[in-house]
């Protein structure tokens, strides 16, 4: 049986894992130092636990202890229960989903291991926005991409907001992080991947016309800045999503990175 522990002091040191969840800088250093991440909401907590992440503790409104009983009973981690006001005072915002878990990170696999059996991968360069990285993981996992590889500066998929937006897909799609941005693409080419750089550039190859390939890597850059010139140069081809005939006349010449990634993942996993 789970140990339910009532708490009411927002400054209780046992709740230190959950403080100021919207303070990005604080959270980055706190989570790195302790090797933890925070899962929010029943569904995401279940997925994180199901993916093998050990729980350090839980913090929730009492009403969630019942629905999550099987997850709570499977660990020795303490379950702190608090009223909504205390939850808000600790987390720094109104915790609509009512349940939080502090989970242990697991060692990330090496890039070579993650791509070993993959046919279709996404490679995220400097996607620093947590919402975007979460949404890209959700799309990639849903559309049958086999794995993701992240450049060193790409945002953390286990940041609370990434996890939430991904609906837990960050636990479903295997991923690894390149140690070396400079040589990272050469390593993937060494595995036989066709490297396709997604860009809005008018002279890129339309998605429909991309040459067939046994192994394919879709390179995604940040909203706005796009891929670095180095990665664009190293790619086997620059590919673009064909815009409607009327789009340019309308002055609408691009998609956001998540919509573009969704379409590209869809088109490139059809064969």
């Amino acid at each position: 049986m789970a140990r339910l522990v009532s708490v009411s002091d927002p400054a209780d040191p046992r709740l230190a894992d959950y403080v100021r969840l919207r303070d990005v800088n604080l959270r980055k250093s706190l989570e790195a130092e302790h090797g933890l991440f925070v899962a929010e909401g029943e569904k995401v907590i279940r997925r994180a636990a199901g993916a093998g992440h050990p729980a350090r503790s839980f913090l929730m409104a009492r009403r969630w202890a019942g629905p999550l009983a099987d997850v709570l009973d499977a660990t020795d981690a303490p379950v702190y229960v608090a009223d909504d006001a205390t939850l808000e005072a600790v987390a720094g915002f109104q915790v609509h989903r009512g349940a939080l878990a502090s989970m242990e990170r697991l060692p990330l696999p090496a890039v070579d291991d993650v791509v070993a059996d993959a046919r279709r991968i996404v490679v995220c360069e400097d996607i620093v926005d947590h919402t975007n990285i979460g949404a890209i993981f959700r799309c990639a996992a849903a559309l049958g991409v086999d794995a993701a590889v992240l450049a060193p500066r790409c945002a953390d998929p286990l940041y609370r907001r990434s996890v939430k937006v991904s609906m837990g897909a960050v636990f479903a799609l295997p991923y690894a992080r390149m140690a070396d941005w400079h040589g990272g693409l050469a390593a993937l080419r060494g595995h036989g991947f066709q490297l396709l750089a997604l860009t809005p550039a008018a002279d890129a190859v339309p998605l429909d016309d991309v040459a067939p390939a046994e192994r394919r890597a879709l390179l995604l850059g940040a909203e706005g800045d796009g891929l670095s010139s180095r990665w664009l140069r190293e790619a086997d081809a620059a590919v673009r999503i064909p815009m409607g005939e009327t789009a340019l006349a309308r002055g609408v010449d691009s998609l956001n990175v998540v919509a573009a990634a969704a379409i590209a993942c869809y088109a490139l996993t059809r064969d």
Copy 2:
């Protein structure tokens, strides 16, 4: 020449159009009462003006008066200039883009007029999220959809956040609002549109297998709840985005509405 008027009192009644821009309920009633909307940032302000919306006034940091000089000079509307602290005190948040415009709404065209020459349209049922409606307009405009039709309860494309997320596509894609949710689809069928209801349901037709059609309407429902049972029943076909073979095994069984709309617009405008 534009009339630049320095302001420093956040309670200045001349700034009433710009108050508390994140207070959704206040803004809805204020904007409806005065027939206005707020455009944010140089690019969006240009697009709104270019689409023929008369300006009521502008409110900006002085540094934006130069880059926007041509837009400001083309109207008699007053240009209020303020420091960043005043801007923040009026708007209720830090106005990163530094320039706001209060613009007049124009009468919406009738549904019949908007779809008269359209081959591909999106029809949004109860998409109440302003971010989602803005993102859907951006995708639809970029991918060559000809027009949008909104159900009575669908969110306002001219709400500040919708406009911003759309990157101004709400001014590029013609749209109209159904007066009648109940009979709205029958009217579109009367125009000869094939009505395709996008859904994650496993028994829906995969996008790749949809029958060809001269005129096509893609029906989109809200994140989570999806389309109403009435609209699903009235559609000619329910269509789904094929998920990857591994997706279900991973427990990832859906896309967010924007990613799904992007893929469907892409696939259904290819022919």
